[in-house]
């Protein structure tokens, strides 16, 4: 696994975007990209130098957890699990959906929903179910395949 660690400037910019769009201000100290334009976070106490030392003696396959995907047009997208991990901080651009809509959403389908274009958080009761991009008429679904409800 190749890591491109975020410096303080890049981290600050990400926090600004997260705060502006979703109200998130506290994120893991160590952030890095892995080549898939995905930002992962590591909360372990190993330093960057120690991680490099470790990578010299062992095959590191994964590190930390996937949290964000930068989006040039629409600020930043939170991963499905990041929405759960940061749920207490999430306060802006939240779309509440009904139980019926949740069933459709969790099957991986887009939801007809008229709202201004942009990135939103999807919530049912107190649970967050990832991010959605609105094209003005529908919410585009990003629920990962392995996390969707299986059809009976």
């Amino acid at each position: 696994m190749k890591f491109e660690f975020y410096d303080s400037k890049k981290r600050k910019k990400l926090i600004e975007q997260l705060n502006e769009r979703f109200g998130v201000t506290e994120i893991p100290k160590l952030l890095f990209e892995t080549g898939k334009e995905r930002v992962r976070g590591f909360t372990g106490d190993l330093t960057i130098d120690e991680l490099y030392d470790l990578s010299k003696i062992t095959n590191i396959e994964f590190l930390g957890a996937y949290l964000f995907k930068p989006d040039e047009e629409r600020s930043v997208r939170l991963g499905f699990d990041a929405c759960v991990l940061f749920n207490k901080q999430l306060s802006k651009n939240i779309i509440d959906i009904s139980a019926e809509q949740l069933k459709i959403w969790m099957k991986g389908e887009n939801l007809p929903f008229v709202i201004q274009k942009g990135m939103y958080l999807v919530r049912h009761e107190n649970d967050f179910f990832g991010c959605a991009i609105s094209d003005g008429e529908k919410l585009i679904n990003f629920v990962p395949k392995e996390r969707r409800l299986r059809r009976n």
Partner: protein, 332 residues
Amino acid sequence: MARPVMKPVFEERMRELLPDKEDFEKYNEIIHKKPLNYIRCNTLKISCDELFNRLKKKWNVVQLFPDYPEIILIDQELGPGELGNAIEHLLGYYYVQEVCSMMSVLALDPKPGERVLDVCASPGSKTTQIASKMQNSGTLIANDIKLDRIRILAANLERCGVMNCVVTRNDGVGLCVRLAETGFKFDKVLLDAPCSGEGTLRSSAKTFLMWNPKVIKKISREQKKLLANAFKCLKIGGSLVYSTCTHAPEENEEVVDFALKNFPVRLEKLNLPLICRPGVTSWKSNEFSKDVSKCCRIYPQDNNSEGFFVSKFTLLDEISPFIPQNFKNGKY
């Protein structure tokens, strides 16, 4: 479908381990029943109370162990895939895990801020349990040897929101050697070793067919090699838990006895929330150290669970580069 039967040699061995006829009959009866549905609350994402209150609206749930509210029994029949397809599971609020498999991590007792190594981590039930106990702090290194198994491990870590983990792909022995050589030492090490799986008959009936006595000796040698090297990554005063999901003494007490005779370690007495029987101090023609009675044998008929074995060591001194007894030419 015909009920699977024990191979004669397996039955003979189990009768030797369970000499009381009634006890053996209870064992032979329960291993043909489906295991109970246990889940473990993932406290990285939700509190035990909150999860319990949610789940009791849809299932009959019980927290059997007051000291371990994260362990929840779903005390009812469930449809196929019902546990895995529940919204709470998809959100990573719980992990489906057999209760006896949770015992290794309870014995290890990882704490926030510690450095922990999980040598044979996939599919990740114990790794996610460790991360939950560590509250995503310290550092957890989770290793496995095969990429397909690592993908399953990684998916489970993501679902549970584990952020303090480094997932590595190496053979366990090589990894431990290299970590030790470069000075990476751990407060806690979990060696949940690959084994013959005799304890998993209730969830995996194919074990009845696959069981082979020749494999046990071979696995036992590999387990000793793994354990010998895992000790090298431990800080002095650190703890190592060695566990398996088998009843075979060659893979359990014999391995523990090997460690006691060759390394500066102390075996700890365990206090687990399941009924445990002491480790056996002799098997076939072998006499083991009396200390191995501190190990914990978990039998299905005692706890309505699967079968398991847990032991816990403390490293007392630096490990000197000596050749352990019966360790020459890589043989044990």
